[in-house]
Amino acid sequence: MKILATYNIKGGVGKTSTAVNIGHLAARDGLRVLLWDLDPQGAASFLLRVRPRVKGGGKALIKGRRELDAAIKGTDFDRLDLLPADFTYRNLDLILDSTKKPTERLDRLLRPLADEYDLIVLDCPPSISLLSESVLHAADILLVPLIPTTLSVRTLDQLSDFIAGFDGHKPQVLAFCSMIDRRKRLHREIAGQLPEERPDVARTVIPALSLIERMSVERAPVTAFAPRSAAARQYAALWAEVAERGL
C-alpha cells in the first residue's frame, strides 16, 4: 500500500481536483483506493456526493482502526472509497497534539489498511500545521500543485528543505504546474522551464479549464464525466507520471 498526499500550504491551487481525479484514475486502473478528505471544508466529499459527516468526528477517527472502518463510504466508482470530511477536522491539530508521537499517528493509523487498499490518497487542508506534518511523515509521495509564480517556487523549496530535515522515512516530492493560464506569459515561461530545471517537477501541467471547475456541478471526477476531454487527458498523464515514480 502506498500513501499519496496532495499538499500545498496555499488554498485554491487544485489539490482537491487532483486528489479526486487521481483517485478515480488509480481505481479505474484496478487499484483499491481510499481517498481521505482531511479538509473540514469537505470539497472532495461534496464532489463524490458523500455527506461530510463522521460519527464521533475527527477525535473518534484518530483513536483507531475500528472507527476508521466504520466511517468509510463507497463512492459511485468501483474500487474508490472515501473517508469523508467532518467539520471537527478543523481541530485535528489539537486532537493530534493530545496523542503520543503526533507526527507518526496518521501513519500508524493508515498502515493497517494495507490488506484492504493499494493506495490511500490524502486530500490535505491548506496549512502548515501538526496535521500537515503528520501527513508528510505518512506519505510516500507528495503531489504538490503549483501556480507558476516565483513565490510558489520559493514555497516548494521551503517544503523540500523541511522534508530533507526528517529522520528516517521521507516522502518523494512531485510538484506540477496547476491552473495554468495560457494567456499569461509568466505562466507559460515557468511551466516550460520548471520541469526542465527540476527533477521534482512533473512534465505534465494541468491547465485552468472550465471543465475542471464543472466538477462541482457534475459532482464527479472530470475523468469520469468527460473521460475524453483535454482535462481528463492531462490528469491521466499526471497519474502516469506518478505511477512511474513507483506507485
Binding site: R32, R49, K73, G74, D76, E116
Partner: protein
Amino acid sequence: MVESFPHDFVLASEGRPPADVVRAALPPRFTAAPDGRPRTLRLTWLDTFDWRLHQAGLTLQHSAGSRVSDYALTSADGQQVTAPARGIRWPALAGALPPGPLRARLQPVTAIRALMPIARATATVRQMRVLNADDKTVAWLTVTGMSLAGRDGSGLASRLSVTAVRGYQVQADRIARNLSAAGGVAPAVASPLDDVLAAAGRHPGDYSSKIDVKLTAEMPARCALEEVLLRLLDTLEANVPGTIREIDTEFLHDLRVAVRRTRSAIKLCGDVLPAGVPEAFSGEFKWLGDVTTPIRDLDVYLLGYGEMAAGLLAATPAELEPFHRYLARHRETEQRELVRALRSRRFLDLVKAWRKELAAPAPRRGITAAALAADRIGRAHRKVLKRGAVITPDSPPESLHDLRKRCKELRYLLEFFASLHDPAIHQQAVRDLKGLQDCLGEYQDCQVQQHEIRMFAAQMMTQRDVPATALLAMGELASKIARRERRARREFADRFADFAAAASQRRFRALTPGAGR
C-alpha cells in the same frame, strides 16, 4: 474488497414487473435508476471435486459477458473478494490465479485439490442504482433471470438482490425490509448455485470419499457389506475421469483408497458373500491396486518436493532439480500406463461385473450386521494387540510393516461399520488407532522412500548428463529421511502403549459387544 450484504429475493413468476416492485419498496426521497442495458452473462461456479469451498461456506462464481470477465468469491457472511478473470483453463489449482487477495483466500482452502466447474448457467442481469437525495448511489438492485446452460429457463425463478454500497448498510437494510413486506417477492431460501444445481439434479456436497452408508444393527450382514461395497464402487468410479484427465492427484488417491477398502472388505468379511465371489474378484482388485501404485508413489514425492528441496542444508534446491525432472518424466510414463489400464476391457469388465454381483438380491438370513461388525472388529483389534505386543527394539522392519497392515484393516472395519456405533466412542477409538497408524505410516514411508531414492539414483545414473551434485543432493535427502525413520521407530513403543492402554481397550470392547476375547 467491497463490504457487501446482499439481501436476496425470488420474484413471483406471475407477479408485478421488477421495476414496480422496487419502486414500491423505496423509502421517501430515494429513487431507482437503471444502470446500463441488460447484460447477458455466462455464469460458471467453481469448487473442488470434494466441495471444499462449499464446506468452508464459500461460493466462487465466474461471470463472463461481452465486456466483463471476473471472479467473485462470497463467504457465508456476505463478504466478497473479486478479481478480473484472465485466461485460466479450468480445472486448475488455485495457484494458477495471479497473486492477490482472491488467490490468498482460496489456496488454504483448496490446497492440493483443483478448482473445476461444478455448474453453469446463462443469466440476464438488469441493474438499478438506488440514489439518495444527493443522487449518490447507496445500493444496487440486481434482477437476474437464469437458465441452465444449454436448456430453457423453466424451473429457475428470477431473483432480485439488494447490495449495499459500503457505508450505506442502513439504507440498504431499509430497502430490503420494505421489499420483504411488499408483494410479488419472497426471501430467497437457496443460493443461485443451489438453484442451478437442483435444476441439474445435483446438490452441494454430493461427493465425499467417506463411506457414508446408514446400516442398521439387525440387517443381514451380507446386505450391510454389499451396501458398503457399492458405496466404495461409486467412489471408485466417480474418480476415474478425474484420474484419467489428471485434474489433481487426489482423484487417484481416492480411487486407490476405494480399491484398498474394497480389498480389505472382501478379505475380512468376504465369507458372508456368496461362495466363490471373493476368489473371483480379489485378484482383479489386487491388479487394479497394483497398477495405481507406481504413480501414487511418484505423486507423494512430487507433492512434497518443494518442502524437501527447501529443507536441504548442504545441497541447493537447484542441484536437486534433475531429480525433479526425472520424477516428472517418470510420472508421465506411468500415467500413460495407468490410463491404458483404466480404459482397458479388463477394468471395464471388472467394475461392471462387480456392480452386477453387488446388485443381485441377497437372501435375508444369516448373521446380522451388528454381529459381523463386532466379530470382525474384535478379531482385527486382538490381532493388532497381539502382534504389536511382541515387537521389541530389535524386531525386524517387516514386523512393523505387518502391524501397519493390520492397523489399516482395523481402521477400515471401523469405517465400514461406523453407522452402527455410538459416534463419540467411534471417534475416540479412531483417534486411539490413528496415533499408532501415523507412527507406523511414517516409519514405512521413510523406508520405502529411501529404497526408492537409491533405485531412482541407479536409474538416473544409466541416463546421460546426470550431474554428481544431483546425486549428492539425493543422498542428503535420503539421510534426512533416515533420521525421520529412526525417530518414528523410537516413538513406536509409546504409541503402541497408548493404543494398548486400558481406556482404549474399554472403548473397543464397547464397540464389539459379544465378540470373543
